[in-house]
Symmetry: C2
Subunit: 293 residues, 2 copies
């Protein structure tokens, strides 16, 4: 069993990006700039945003955090986004999800200019992905593809089972891996809460991608010998033995699964790290869209 | 075995649309108007466009055909589309595909205003479909969903196998049928030319949707007893016994399959008729977008 180490692959990717930024600097040009909007005080959201900003610093990007109150109106939030859309020194805009109830996430996603949509959630960008001409690929699926590619894991002709049909992970990864060409050409099955006999479907898979958000959902008896297991789950579970009072659990019962599979991502230290590195890659892409390459 | 009769379902749909047009007329408003652009002299394309225009007449829509020469430049074609985009008496624009080699189809699709994109091929519309907020659903997948719904064929929890990953059929139907809610919630597998052991995958399916474009691709030994079979194929095969010199063949070896399945679409007379009726539905939707409902 080989551990798919997000730390190593993400670091390699960030090193490449850092080298590009150094190149940009050597030409006396401005560096890429990511703006993150954080609404409210959700602990997980704060951690995600702070990790993204930390990654920006690591690779040499400029970054800005805009903190808005939990009770902010949709109108005010869209106004902030508009300012960033019109600010030519900003390349990428991310609005950390989830948002409070008074705000319609779809409206927010649509208000970000498609050329600054580094999360790849704008319908124009998801449409480009679906039709095989992607511009911005959502960071988690992009991270998974980069991870599989780094470890030379073949996808062509393989049976891939994705569990979860979210717009952020399940949908885009199932499209990417079944598209023609490198890192694609897999036979994709998408499972979800209404799927019958999910154990049997998983057992037939060469690659299982779990994006359910339920700790220990994937048991040892659902994985065939030699399968590749990608765990997208990041759930905070109360844990008094930890300083923070919680630990992070994936969707996979790691202890049951790891001996059967050929490759597996740990949680933490797997897909999560790739997501952040992929966001940096998207921000660099946005920069080149704006500045020319 | 029940024959899924496109003629009956499409006629019911067109009757509903016709009743709406009569209602519009009774209010002394303008009627919906579809413009079709036909490039060159491809026989199948001419037939498709003429059938679409015929359906417009049937339901009471206004229609316009714009014929352009096979050698037309991309620039001239986009100019024609722009004129239609800016013409407030036109609700829907369709450019019959395929287009000649000198023209980039993606550029053409993107040049149609999303609110007039009755084929649902603009990336913004495919993106809305992917994220579960569809505006225009491409006509063939919409026709299939309406057909399944008409015959009360349950999709929730069913294993659906789609063969083909085109932007026009395979991709959108796989998304629609796996979305949460009515006519959705199926467990979807998408197969294609790189899929291994496709016979076995089809044999496990409750519903098989064949969109390959290869006559007789689906044999009797690929279908389990009681399955539902939807045949999207429309291939012209030379046939000297026919007046036109060809006959139309689906992807399914009908004679082998029909005794095993519970429901099956004939070709012709199945999905093709639904596609045209669904296009009328999309044109009416575009009209309401422009005129208010």
């Amino acid at each position: 069993m080989v551990l798919l180490q997000g730390s190593i692959v993400a670091q390699a990717l960030k090193n490449d990006i850092k080298a590009e930024v150094e190149c940009i600097l050597s030409e006396n040009k401005r560096v890429p700039h990511l703006a993150a909007i954080l609404v409210g005080e959700n602990g997980a959201s704060k951690t995600y945003v702070s990790n993204k900003i930390k990654a920006c610093k690591e690779v040499g990007f400029q970054s800005t955090i805009i903190n808005l109150d939990e009770n902010v109106s949709q109108h005010v939030l869209i106004n902030e986004i508009e300012k960033l859309n019109n600010n030519s020194s900003i390349d990428g805009i991310l609005v950390q999800l989830p948002l409070p109830q008074q705000i319609n996430e779809q409206d927010i996603v649509k208000s970000i200019h498609p050329s600054k949509d580094v999360d790849g959630f704008h319908p124009l960008n998801t449409g480009k992905l679906l039709t095989g001409n992607p511009d911005f690929i959502p960071a988690t699926p992009l991270g998974i593809v980069l991870m599989l590619s780094h470890y030379n894991i073949e996808t062509s002709g393989k049976k891939v089972v994705v569990i979860g049909r979210s717009n952020i992970v399940g949908r885009p990864i199932s499209i990417l891996l079944s598209q023609p060409g490198k890192n694609g050409d897999a036979t994709l099955t998408v499972c979800h809460s209404r799927t019958n006999n999910i154990e049997q479907i998983c057992l037939e898979a060469d690659i299982v991608i779990a994006a359910v958000g339920i700790p220990n959902f994937i048991k040892g008896n659902m994985i065939k010998n030699g399968a590749v297991v990608i765990d997208v789950g990041i759930t905070r579970v109360p844990d008094t033995s930890k300083k923070l009072g919680y630990s992070i659990k994936g969707d996979v019962a790691f202890d049951e699964v790891f001996e059967k599979c050929s490759y597996i991502t740990p949680v933490p230290g797997g897909v999560g790290l790739m997501t952040i590195a992929a966001l940096m890659k998207n921000t660099l892409h946005a920069y080149y869209l704006h500045e020319g390459n």
